[in-house]
């Protein structure tokens, strides 16, 4: 009897285990038989994810065997999340939306699929993408250490360029002209700052952390004064150059000498700039154009709708940027994934998403489309801006440590702007820290 009991004790669990296994197995098999291919797409929560979601039903109708699941991720944690999933090769995503900063480490780590073969074999009109923007965001056309063949990693999905934004009504009132260079721009800023009560001349991102745009606002000035990007092709830091110093001094003086910026500008990131302009508290800024138009022109949010001018950056050089959709190396369905990103970025959808969601157009044919021109009167300026735009991350050599480098530059710039260090010292500091970081990452000995 004892023996029997002992046997039972072993037999029972084993039997139930086997049964459970069989059950799961059969369930999975039936599930697979019935399943369509599912593509998980990681996208930034908000406009861009919503836009992508809106074309999914039509895509699924065209491809009944493919199911697309857009996973929106808030920007604050997106980079880390995608980085973690990709480096762990977890297979959580088949497609990711990303910008250059994210793409470099992924390409260096061989985590994305090169798309050249797909593009050649399909009818994607890659040449229709605004060239310099597309090249900069997809890493195409520029052979480098991490991308020796200059392969294409992704299709452009969303673009933007920074423009010089000013108050048309105040320009008229004080007889000012759209500035051709930063000297004129500073004059205009000071004129309005001194004359118009309750309106500060200029506003910029003064926060130092969390994707601050200080670096962009700075380079919109510096690039036009002969400034240099944070590192050169030999991975040498070069923040401390005459052009950069001049630009930094301009910002320093606007803040400290002329008090031409609102109090609290040091807390400003991307959005607070918009708010200051929209509330009529400041007269100028440099800003990502497409993403600010809505909040500046919507009368329910803005007191200055219709009074805003959008001009090319004084001096002509501006920061540009963009997002791509790329295929993750671990995907089991590369073909289907390519079908989707092709669909998402084709002319029809690119136009539709630009008009309906305010996505930045990535195709020349879309920007020149009459419908788009009607909605965005400054389409021509946009195209020029995108074509001449400088993506500071892409223009510098590919390094996988941009988040850290950006922070170093932001810290140093804001230290210099707000007088915690002299502008010169701030730039010297930046170079020293950049060198350290590049060394720590193993880029320089």
């Amino acid at each position: 009897m004892n023996k029997n009991a002992g046997n039972n004790r072993v037999v029972k669990p084993v039997a139930s285990l086997v049964m459970v296994m069989i059950l799961t197995l059969s369930l999975t098999v039936t599930a697979f038989a019935a399943a369509r291919v599912t593509l998980n797409v990681a996208m930034e929560a908000g406009r861009m994810a919503d836009a992508a979601k809106s074309v999914v039903p039509e895509f699924e109708k065209l491809h009944p065997d493919i199911k697309v699941n857009v996973v929106p991720l808030p920007y604050t944690t997106m980079q880390q999340k995608v980085m973690t999933e990709l480096t762990a090769k977890s297979g959580a995503y088949d497609i990711i939306e990303s910008h250059f900063l994210m793409n470099v480490p992924f390409v260096a780590g061989d985590l994305l699929l090169p798309l050249d073969k797909f593009i050649k074999e399909s009818n994607v009109d890659f040449g229709d993408f605004v060239k310099s923007m597309a090249d900069q965001t997809t890493l195409a056309g520029k052979a480098s250490k991490i991308n020796p063949k200059g392969s294409i990693y992704g299709l452009p999905y969303n673009s933007d360029v920074m423009m010089f934004i000013y108050r048309v009504d105040l320009y008229k009132k004080y007889g000012l002209g759209v500035p051709k260079d930063w000297r004129q721009a500073v004059n205009n800023i000071l004129k309005i700052n001194g004359s118009e009560k309750g309106v500060y001349g200029f506003v910029f991102s003064g926060a130092r952390t969390d994707n601050s745009h200080a670096i962009f606002d700075f380079y919109n000035i510096a690039l036009n004064l002969g400034g240099t990007l944070p590192i050169n092709d030999e991975y040498s830091p070069r923040m401390n150059t005459p052009g950069n110093l001049e630009a930094l001094k301009i910002l320093y003086e606007l803040v400290n000498k002329y008090k031409a910026t609102p109090p609290g500008v040091e807390e400003y990131r991307y959005a607070e700039k918009n708010t200051a302009i929209a509330q009529g508290r400041a007269a100028h800024m440099t800003q990502w154009m497409l993403s600010c138009v809505k909040s500046l022109e919507d009368p329910s949010e803005s007191r200055v709708s219709g009074k805003i001018g959008y001009a090319a950056m004084p001096g002509g050089k501006a920061i540009s940027g963009g997002w791509t959709v790329s295929i993750v190396g671990t995907t089991k369905h590369p073909k289907e994934a390519f079908e989707f990103i092709k669909f998402l970025t084709n002319k029809k959808n690119n136009l539709k998403l630009a008009l309906e969601f305010g996505n930045g157009p990535v195709r020349k044919s879309v920007i020149l489309d009459p419908e788009f021109k009607k909605a965005y009167p400054f389409a021509q300026a946009l195209l020029e801006g995108l074509e001449g735009g400088v993506n500071i991350f892409a223009a510098a050599p590919d390094v996988a440590v941009w988040p850290e480098l950006t922070d170093i530059v932001n810290f140093a710039l804001t230290d210099g702007i707000f007088g915690r260090l002299s502008p010169q010292d701030a730039l010297v500091q930046a170079d020293k820290k950049l060198k350290d970081a590049l060394h720590q990452a193993g880029y320089v000995k």
Binding site: V71, T76, K81, T84, E85, N211, E272, Q279
Partner: protein, 292 residues
Amino acid sequence: MITKSSGNPGKILKLLKLPSRSPFIGALRYSILIILTFIALFPLIWLFMTSLKNEIDIFARPPVLVFRPTFQAYRYIAKMGFLEKYFLNSLTVATLTVVVSLVIGGLGAYSLARFRFTGNSFLAFIILASRMLPGVVLVIPLYLLMQRFKLTNTRTALIIAHTAFNLPFVVWILRSYLASIPRELEEAAMIDGASRLLAIRKVIAPLSTPGIVATAMFTFLSSWNEFLFALNLTFSPEAQTMPVAVTGFISARGIAWGELSAAATIMLLPGLLFGIFARKYIVSGLTRGAIK
């Protein structure tokens, strides 16, 4: 301390002689208390008010005290699935953390309270020492380990981390509660033939209910409020808890003040409810956790 005078608080009060000697001192006490209360409560009220304002009222200068309340922000966060995603995640993580850490910690506490065995005091020390561990020293290796076991971005990861982090505290508090239950009670039950487990279930568990409730509330809040691990171990709505989710409203692309304060208000509710209606338990957990 020789004698505890819990029997005559009135006497001590008289001897301490701070209050009520003169009406002036009484009034002074009340005015200070009222000011302090204002400082303690006003920020919470202001948050709630902000959550009911529309964008224009939020930015209004001078700030408005009287305005037409709108539930727009609450509607928006309900529509984006805040409740069924993040609120539910927070609730799941906190509840399971409570259950798991009470079961594990309860056994450990019982063992520490009732038995003298080698290593008892050493364990007590370890438990205390682990309370000193700063979160940053653990979050990095836990992130790496969770990633290796494909647990990043799961609620399981958070439950594991929160359980481990709360466990020393749970053991500590429960041990102190259990130690205050005379061991004669269960010994009597055991002499009557009950097994130890039965004695625990029938005698100890009912008697230590207040202790368990206090510990549970404490652990719940600690998990509910936890941010560092949640921030770095989870990334998407399937696993993120509320403290992390609300940071989504503070992005470089703008701060959605209404939504932010609505979400923060919801996040504050359990703590405030506990604090108002069960302060006794929380206080007893606090004091027992800190002092023997």
